[in-house]
């Protein structure tokens, strides 16, 4: 996989149409590219840049600012273990050491089967439930080494596929807004104009 597939390009164009300026759709489109390949490939970034009308360097400049965009292949499940102060006081280091041993990779590494990538991260804003971790950004709280093993087993068995989708998946249901319900595309300069649905008196009818 490299550039956006035809389906995804069509979706990209629908996303761009939601914004007054194509460039505003840059980050949603990067997410779309990441959901396609699991990480952002150079070709996909280039394709997204072409679609929104900026240079690849500008697109990469924006993309690399964000931790959640990955530029190298990561496992199907991205495990972020918090090592910030609250978690550290309640055993995060032990948890990281255990996770490392259980998965057989150092933090930053990916298991050979491509299932797991282990990362340590800064505060995830769940200090009251320390130590915490996130798998593909779904939180697990007050995690003990045993909990970790159970979690890995559950993932490997496919039991929680519904709860935790593969890395890169933003949503499994995509919102579609019918034409008549859209707030109306207008340039920022004209943004004070009433949105189309309001003008049509369509509230509740659509």
């Amino acid at each position: 996989m490299s550039r956006l597939t035809a389906d995804n390009e069509a979706r990209a164009r629908r996303i761009m149409a939601l914004y007054p300026r194509p460039k505003s759709a840059l980050i949603p489109l990067l997410h779309l590219a990441q959901s396609q390949d699991g990480h952002l490939t150079d070709e996909a970034v280039r394709h997204v840049a072409e679609l929104v009308g900026i240079t690849p360097a500008e697109a990469a400049g924006t993309a690399t600012f964000y931790e959640m965009f990955k530029f190298h292949p990561v496992g199907r499940y991205l495990v972020n273990v918090c090592t910030n102060i609250s978690c550290a006081l309640l055993g995060a280091d032990d948890l990281v050491a255990h996770a490392s041993a259980a998965l057989g990779v150092k933090p930053g590494g990916t298991t050979d089967d491509g299932m797991f990538t282990l990362e340590t991260v800064e505060c995830m804003a769940a200090c009251t439930e320390a130590p915490c971790l996130a798998v593909n950004y779904r939180y697990r709280l007050r995690v003990t080494p045993n909990d970790f093993d159970d979690l890995v087993a559950a993932i490997r068995s496919g039991d929680i596929d519904q709860e935790i989708p593969h890395h890169g998946t933003l949503a499994r249901v995509h919102q579609e807004i019918p034409e008549g319900r859209m707030a109306g595309i207008s340039s920022p300069e004209q943004a004070r104009a009433a949105p189309a649905w309001m003008a049509a008196g369509a509230e509740g009818a659509g």
């Binding site: 150079d42 970034v45 240079t55 690849p56 360097a57 697109a59 400049g61 600012f65 964000y66």
Partner: protein
């Protein structure tokens, strides 16, 4: 740039206890500097928008709510503002900022090219804490990575000031470098496999406040304190960008931009910046050469032998069988000397500084002129009639781009194909080749009546009506030569129509070096020095010139056609290369072969001289001789001599004087200054060019304004009726020209031959895009890669003028109103 500070009553502020009058809307850092208080800075640059990135310019500002630290590059002045630039808090902030900036800076000053002229080094000495409390490991990157063919980036030295990235985005419009990553891992970089291939990349090196960006030609060549500099004028094109030529031990090592407010704002193209390398290259002619009768090769000779051979040929030939082509490379003074030699001593008027690649000089000189500032006036309307400024006159392109992007100017382009400005143009019209005059007639008719009758020249009615509406009020015209595959007649007729509207002023953008100086010196058929027709200037020249040609002579096209049938006995090539630069390669080749003797006066043995020159006289180059340069506006600025010419090469005016002496005449001057004073006598125009005037305006130069030539009647050619594919040939920044061939940093930058067609015209071509095709005309053919390009008119095939291995002039018949071609698969 944030634009000039607004008009209005001065704003009274207090700086370090002293009352200061600031301009309304002025940035605090500018107001302080204008009043003699320098605030240290790294990211702030007066020609770019402020970002407040480096925090070095923090000062204590009190606007009545108590003192607080604020970045002076982000604060505009306000009435009664009290500013302390050296308060305890400001000094502590400067110390802190510098300590932070140096946390990751390698301090490799002893091996850094910037050492000695480095703002970071200087300001650390002046404002820094003196020592660092940071003991941890600094961050490491691969040492310099090449981000373009000439520019290297050392990310360890970078302090993330955003100057280069802002330049690329705001000024050049090529945002190919960007901040990547975040926080302590932020770096400047390009996208993978997408180099910083901007025509303007060298400017980032000049504005980098540390040694992070370095340019290949200067890397490790010298220390700044070994350099001496002289302010001069860039010579590779006709904008006349001001430069500082810097040399050490009689070698030019670097050229940097000088901020001339009226001209280039400190910016240069890479060709202007790095073109000096050609002057010092192995291909340089360092002494006279003569053709050896036995072997046919050019062999070194003494000046006496070479000049004797040249003079023997000249003295044998009747005046009307002598022709002088070229001269745009020369200084104004050398041009005058050659004009005097050719017209006043030899007596021929077959003199032309252009090679059928510009516009009729009597038209150009007759038009009321606009300055660059007038064209780029905020809110103005600019009509671009001709070529692509980005490819031909890069530093003018930056000014035009700024006018449109930042100053609300409206651009209407009427060009043979899309240009570097098309994305910014309010209206882009690309007439069918050869039909510019038809389009202009339709446009002006639509502007007069308020409605367009119909389409014209392949442009549709709506586009013409929209552009015509924009021509309602005042506008200026940037007038150049568009496609070289058609004669200039149609464009000249279009220009004359605009001139007929009155109140329209023109910026003529003929691209060839000092071509404007050449016109002003009379290096064109029918002209005398000072924008005067020869017939009208005879009286003034009597007593100064030994003689004046009785009848107007031939232009370059007529000279070469005459030479090709044996009617020219001596052809002097004054830095001219007809084989590559004249529109018709076959005629040029026949002319070189058919001329009795060919004398080249040049820096290099170009293709024409290699083919046919009997004598090559070695000329001194732009940094090797003193003189002046006239730019597109008519602005005269000094060319400085910084080094001595190589070998026995001589200034062109000395060569003219030597040949004149051997012909039994004395040109009557022995220095450029003496030539200037004679020019002031011979030409009304040049009277303004006094030593005092030049000394009084060392950066902006002296404007020569006015003309003695009435607007000539220009007949619009009748558009041919045929509907075949027509050729568009336009100049590109990098081509296979002789200077670029000898310039290491630009070698290899010329794009390979491409034949560009509109997607809607693809059905007429039996070949697939990206494959090699053969473009053929009745004259010849060339092979190029087929490229689909929506910016090319539907009925046209666009090629670059002098792509390596595929000269467009092989297809063109000189004087033909259009060039019809066919394209087929190879």
């Amino acid at each position: 740039m944030t634009g000039p500070a607004g008009e209005g009553p001065a704003v009274e502020i207090t700086v370090d206890g002293a009352a200061v009058a600031a301009r309304p809307g002025e940035l605090l850092i500018e107001a302080c500097e204008r009043n003699g208080v320098y605030i240290p800075r790294f990211c702030y640059h007066p020609r770019m928008a402020s970002v407040g990135m480096c925090r070095m310019c923090l000062v204590t500002v009190d606007t009545g709510r108590g003192p607080s630290l604020q970045p002076s590059c982000m604060v505009t002045v306000a009435e009664a503002m009290a500013v302390e630039t050296e308060s305890a808090a400001a000094v502590k902030a400067q110390n802190g900022v510098l300590e932070f900036l140096l946390i990751n800076h390698p301090l490799d000053c002893p091996v850094c090219d910037k050492g000695g002229e480095c703002p970071l080094q200087d300001q650390t000495m002046a404002y820094g804490p003196g020592e660092s409390r940071f003991v941890e490991e600094k961050r490491h990157f691969e040492k310099p990575i090449a981000i373009s063919a000439t520019v290297h980036l050392d990310r360890e030295r970078c302090i993330l000031c955003d100057r280069c990235t802002r330049f690329a985005d705001q000024v050049a419009g090529d945002p190919l470098i960007s901040f990547m990553g975040r926080g302590g891992a932020t770096e400047v970089n390009t996208f993978a496999d997408e180099p910083f291939a901007s025509y303007f990349s060298g400017n980032t090196v000049q504005i980098c406040p540390v040694g992070a960006l370095t340019a290949e030609p200067y890397r490790f060549k010298a220390r700044p304190w070994d350099l001496t500099e002289a302010v001069s004028t860039a010579w590779v094109d006709s904008v006349g960008a001001r430069v500082s030529v810097q040399s050490s031990r009689n070698r030019v090592l670097r050229v940097q931009g000088v901020d001339a407010d009226a001209v280039n704002w400190g910016w240069l193209t890479d060709k202007e910046r790095f073109g000096f390398e050609a002057l010092d290259s192995d291909g340089r002619v360092t002494g006279p050469l003569v053709r050896d009768a036995a072997t046919g090769a050019l062999v070194p000779a003494s000046w006496a032998d070479a000049a004797t051979r040249a003079v023997e040929a000249l003295s044998r030939a009747p005046a009307e069988r002598v022709a002088v082509l070229g001269g745009a490379r020369l200084t104004n003074e050398s041009q005058y000397a050659w004009a005097k030699l050719a017209k006043g001593v030899i007596g021929t008027d077959n003199v032309d500084a252009q090679l059928d690649d510009g516009l009729p000089p009597e038209l150009v000189l007759s038009l009321p002129r606009a300055t660059i500032d007038e064209v780029c006036r905020p809110g103005g309307v600019i009509v671009l009639l001709g070529g692509d400024p980005k490819e031909e006159l890069g530093s003018l392109y930056l000014r035009l781009r700024h006018a449109v992007v930042s100053d609300g100017a409206t651009l209407i382009e009427i060009t043979p194909r899309a240009t570097g400005l098309s994305g910014l143009a309010a209206h882009s019209l690309h007439p069918r080749p050869g039909e510019t005059a038809e389009l202009m007639r339709a446009l002006l008719a639509a502007a007069a009546t308020g409605a367009a009758d119909g389409g014209a020249a392949g442009c549709d009615r709506a586009a013409i009506a929209a552009a015509a509406a924009a021509l309602d009020g005042e506008f200026t015209v940037v007038l150049g030569r568009g496609s070289l595959a058609e004669t200039a007649d149609s464009a000249a007729a279009a220009a004359a129509m605009l001139a007929g509207r009155g109140s329209v002023r023109f910026l003529p953008v003929l691209r060839r070096g000092n071509v404007n100086g050449a016109f002003d010196a009379g290096l064109a058929p029918g002209l005398a020095p000072g924008r005067t027709l020869l017939a009208a200037g005879t009286d003034r020249l009597a007593g100064i010139w030994p003689r004046v040609p009785a009848r107007p002579g031939r232009d370059a096209r007529a000279v070469l056609k005459a030479a090709s049938v044996g009617e020219i006995d001596v052809l002097v090539l004054l830095g001219a290369d007809p084989l590559n630069d004249f529109s018709d390669r076959a005629v040029a080749a026949n002319a070189l072969d058919g001329a009795g003797s060919v004398i080249a006066v040049d820096l290099f043995v170009n293709d024409s001289a290699a083919r046919a020159a009997d004598v090559v006289l070695a000329a001194a180059g732009p940094t090797e001789t003193e003189g002046t340069f006239t730019n597109i506006e008519g602005r005269v600025s000094p060319m400085a001599q910084k080094v001595t010419p190589p070998g026995t090469a001589r200034a062109d005016w000395m060569i003219a004087a030597d040949l004149a002496r051997r012909l039994g005449a004395d040109l009557g001057f022995a220095s450029p200054a003496e030539i200037r004073s004679e020019m002031a006598e011979a030409s009304e125009l040049h009277r303004a060019l006094t030593p005092e005037a030049l000394a009084a305006s060392p950066v902006e130069g002296v404007m020569l304004a006015g003309t003695q030539i009435p607007v000539p009647a220009v007949e619009a050619p009748v558009a041919p009726g045929s509907r075949g594919l027509r050729l568009v040939a336009t100049r590109t920044m990098y081509d296979d020209g002789v200077m670029l061939r000898h310039c290491p940093s630009s070698r290899g930058l010329a794009r390979g031959p491409e034949a560009r067609v509109n997607p809607a015209a693809l059905y007429r071509i039996d070949a697939r895009p990206s494959t090699t095709v053969r473009v053929s005309s009745a004259r010849g053919h060339l092979d190029a890669t087929l490229v689909v390009d929506e910016g090319v008119p539907v009925g046209a095939v666009a090629v670059g003028w002098l792509a390596p291995g595929a000269p467009a002039n092989a297809l063109i018949e000189a004087g033909s109103p259009v060039t019809e071609v066919t394209v087929e698969a190879r």
